[in-house]
């Protein structure tokens, strides 16, 4: 039986600003304290690592293009979105309190070696290509790879 490592895995399923902040706060803290940290981006969580607001590419069929336009890279909040005012207030409050923004956290995460894995199945369904996602994605993989990592990790979260 494999021994458990100082490792944390996070499945980021949600495409919401507040949940993404929670996921990256945990992952960067883990990496900073010497743990291995892995984020699996799946479903709406892929919105967090899209290069552009709208993803429409030549390999997509009509439905996928439609989804690519409707399902923008814009991250609302899970509560108090108020047509977009909520995320602005949250960002202002975080700035006032000198808490890093999501983009800053993502940079720190990468510099600390947090691993990014994008879910193959979700990418196939949504017609997302490697070029559509942040170049910082380390790997495209599915549930089998996730489980192989999670079985060895001490902390596994679904966000």
């Amino acid at each position: 039986m494999s021994e458990q490592k100082e490792k944390m895995t996070i499945i980021l399923f949600s495409g919401e600003l507040d949940k993404a902040i929670a996921a990256f706060t945990l992952a960067t803290t883990a990496a900073a304290s010497g743990m291995e940290a892995i984020i699996f981006f799946t479903f709406w969580g892929l919105n967090v690592i899209k290069k552009n607001m709208f993803v429409v590419n030549s390999k997509q069929n009509f439905l996928q293009k439609m989804f690519g336009v409707l399902n923008t890279g814009y991250l609302p909040m899970s509560k108090f979105n108020f047509l977009g005012i909520g995320p602005i207030l949250m960002k202002l409050l975080m700035k006032q309190k000198k808490v890093a923004t999501l983009l800053e956290m993502m940079k720190t995460a990468r510099s600390l070696g947090v691993k990014y894995i994008a879910c193959t199945m979700s990418c196939a369904v949504l017609g997302l290509d490697r070029d559509d996602l942040s170049c910082e994605v380390d790997e495209f993989a599915g549930a089998t790879s996730y489980l192989a990592e999670a079985k060895e990790a001490k902390v596994n979260l679904f966000i």
Copy 2:
């Protein structure tokens, strides 16, 4: 101290199509790779294993009947529901990409031995009877049974 087994537990709290797909993808993958996999259906997650759209039975009181009608077995999406268009689009996209539907995944899950446990407390509150749920539910149990399983599992998720 009990040793940790090659086991995964998932609490399926949400009654949403996308989250149910994520839960069943993980559970079937785990079972296919030889892990023990258990899904605990609680609160809205019970909607996933309801036999009928509307659950009204003779043992329910007025409030429970009302809930049984309002809280249908219909699974919306956690995002982009668009009055029901979202789930239809999602199902179309999954079909195009030859990804199994939720029903197919649930069949596979059972054939691979994924265990289904329905939360006793939620069933009591909602007036759900054994007959109202899929005959594939293995057990009705509460938080104590969940914890006994989770303590021994390598991967525990709340979806």
Copy 3:
């Protein structure tokens, strides 16, 4: 490598009645069966342990005061909120079925020694003071403390 203890940690991120009930059911059951149980209240989860409906204090700046009024201690449901009718129905159903209310569960949790930790960063962003939260909060701490606990726990959930 640290050995895993009979411990459960829950990150309560959501400020919803149904999810809070799930979290406290699990935590009290764990504590009642001799496990150590810890709840980390973060983001909207802090609403569950606010002393008052509206939190406005003299140390808050304008934005924080605004958030303190908008983000009340009122807990909606994650589904079927129906402008507040859902939570009332749910509470009635739970009362009929003699399931403990959230407040009762929280009292039981404390009497069984469930530990409450409030997230320092969220409190700073929202301008929440120790006095604004239930006096039963044991500690204010961040992601580092969470990870130290979670690494040693057998069950870790994000709710």
